[in-house]
Subunit: 347 residues, 2 copies
């Protein structure tokens, strides 16, 4: 099958550092190429892929500080894709709603995986206008704010990881892990309070974006002066796997409608259970008592942290293999593609 | 001819207050309807027009403080336009490059009037990708930064005004006018310095946007305490015409590549000559010694302010009638439409 992927241009594919969408596009594309699909990847020119790359810009926009207008290169990208739509059997967009209006102007089937949150009010009239366009959600929770709109959801496809890269760890580091970004919606303050109350060590491996710098300095930094709390800053991909694998648990006390939460399945791939607040996708990813605990309040989180050593780490890894491998993800997308390419009726 | 106009959604058409593009779209559309074109205006739902209005949003975005994402309604607008492209003989876009990629996907001829500055480096790769798409510039100066790119400029069409609305004034108010917005690129500091040096009274009718508030307070406000300087704040449309008509001259000491400069032709329509720095479009609009003076430095501006009473105000008004009326603008666009609709070769 001749498939075109439209990747965001903010990060290269795969990204150097942060960039969940570009990472998933990379996993998806490489596995599709391995399976014999003829894949064209529209992405920044510094991307690396076994697919044919068409690059609207030479370098990822986030590295290009002088780029004042990120929309312009995406407009070029969309033109490049849809001008040659006839060369593809299917076009798969990862740039949110930007590609919607092109779907109706070409005969090639298109599908749009929505990678962001969908609970923002301004999206409703837009989604309503494009109610017939084939969409994929990355969790069932993600589409819930729009469930009254009768949109054309073809599937929920959970993200998948190349599990061979994630060796199961032993969880013997005697700490709980907080990984990602310091921001109010990620709950670092609650994580610290819970670790202190439970008397367990917390290692925080997280970046601070400029926009969150003031929050970090006023709300979080004063909490770090405690022997139980260890702030290690931002870490790279290889360190991340060791960091997760040695942790007793990943603590994910989020306070926002998380559309997926890649770090949860990274933890499971490392055999590490997850203690998370039940927001957004979390209840779909974590099975309480098996791969972690859902804990809403400080008390519940403290209780969960005291119980994680009862969970079977091999079970966590098996769950990752069963549900969150890249092959399962590509199987799911193949099924979506088949249903669209053959014009199967909407279900 | 069945014409679709794609207006920006930031202001209604015509705008309540500021909004040069939406004003020009309004003038153009109303005159085209008067001439018997069948016009569909895609614009915010609070717009007023004799054309058929299709509204992607009920209200102009600038009045809708809660609207966090101005791109989304424009994406809906573009979908609405191009999904029914076959219903139009010509599609005329005023939303900068946003509609470019759709031009190649429909058979209906499209033309894009570019209303903004084109000297920004990030535009070059975009424009290059769309080199064949029919463009209209609003001055020859506007397209100069891109002249090496061999784009498909079909014409320069200067803006035009409904001149009946502008009664020629007497210019007997014993002041020079500064009108528009307080911002560094508009040169209010230079205007004040020149008025003081020339010993003429300067009336400043200008708004201060939040982004320019600090500049106003630190750079301009301290200069206002002078009997020659009279800061009157923002004024409405009717007051504006009187304000211009009673002025000896409009002072337009800009320091940026002005793509057109609507206020210059408003002054001429009121019979008021213009003293302007020769940036961007200015030398195309103002004929030195006839409808004003081009003056670059403080000394030259002072000299010009001392000489404006030599200019013939009736001449200024006649020049507005000859070159900057809405009928001439619509004649020009009709010629553009004809050349595109009949597939005339690119010139």
């Amino acid at each position: 099958m001749r498939v075109a992927h439209i990747a965001p241009l903010y990060e290269r594919v795969p990204p150097m550092l942060y960039g969940g969408t570009e990472r998933i596009v990379s996993y998806l594309v490489e596995e599709q190429v391995r399976r014999g699909h003829q894949v064209t990847l529209f992405a920044s020119g510094d991307s690396r892929s076994a697919a044919d790359i068409v690059a609207p810009v030479p370098r990822a926009l986030r590295l290009d500080a002088g780029h004042s207008d990120p929309l312009a290169p995406h407009v070029v990208e969309l033109a490049q894709v849809f001008e040659q739509a006839d060369d593809f059997d299917l076009i798969h967009s990862h740039v949110d709603y930007l590609a919607f209006p092109f779907s109706r102007l070409v005969t090639t089937p298109t599908v749009h995986t929505l990678h962001g949150r969908l609970d923002l009010p301004h999206l409703r009239p837009l989604m309503l206008h494009f109610a017939d366009i084939p969409l994929v959600s990355i969790s069932n929770a993600q589409r819930r704010p729009l469930e009254q709109l009768e949109l054309n959801w073809t599937a929920t496809v959970y993200h998948g990881l190349p599990l061979d890269f994630y060796a199961p760890g032993r969880g013997d580091g005697k700490y709980v892990a907080f990984l990602g970004r310091i921001a109010p919606e990620k709950g670092p303050g609650l994580a610290i309070a819970a670790a202190k109350a439970a008397g367990v060590r917390l290692k925080i491996a997280a970046k601070v974006d400029p926009v969150d710098r003031a929050y970090f300095e006023s709300e979080i930094e004063p909490l770090l002066a405690d022997p139980l709390i260890d702030y290690v800053g931002e870490i790279g991909e290889a360190d991340k796997r060791r960091f997760l694998g040695e942790a007793m648990a990943l603590l994910f006390p989020i306070d926002w409608p998380e559309p997926f939460g890649l770090v949860m399945i990274e933890a499971l791939a490392c055999g590490t259970p997850v203690v998370a607040r039940p927001c957004g996708s979390v209840p779909e990813i974590i099975t309480p008592g098996r791969t972690g605990f859902l804990a809403d309040t400080l008390d519940e989180i403290v209780q969960a942290l005291r119980s994680v050593d009862r969970l079977d780490r091999a079970q966590c890894r098996r769950e990752a293999e069963r549900r969150f491998g890249v092959e399962r993800m590509v199987d799911d997308y193949d099924a979506v593609y088949e249903s669209l390419a053959t014009g199967a009726p909407r279900t």
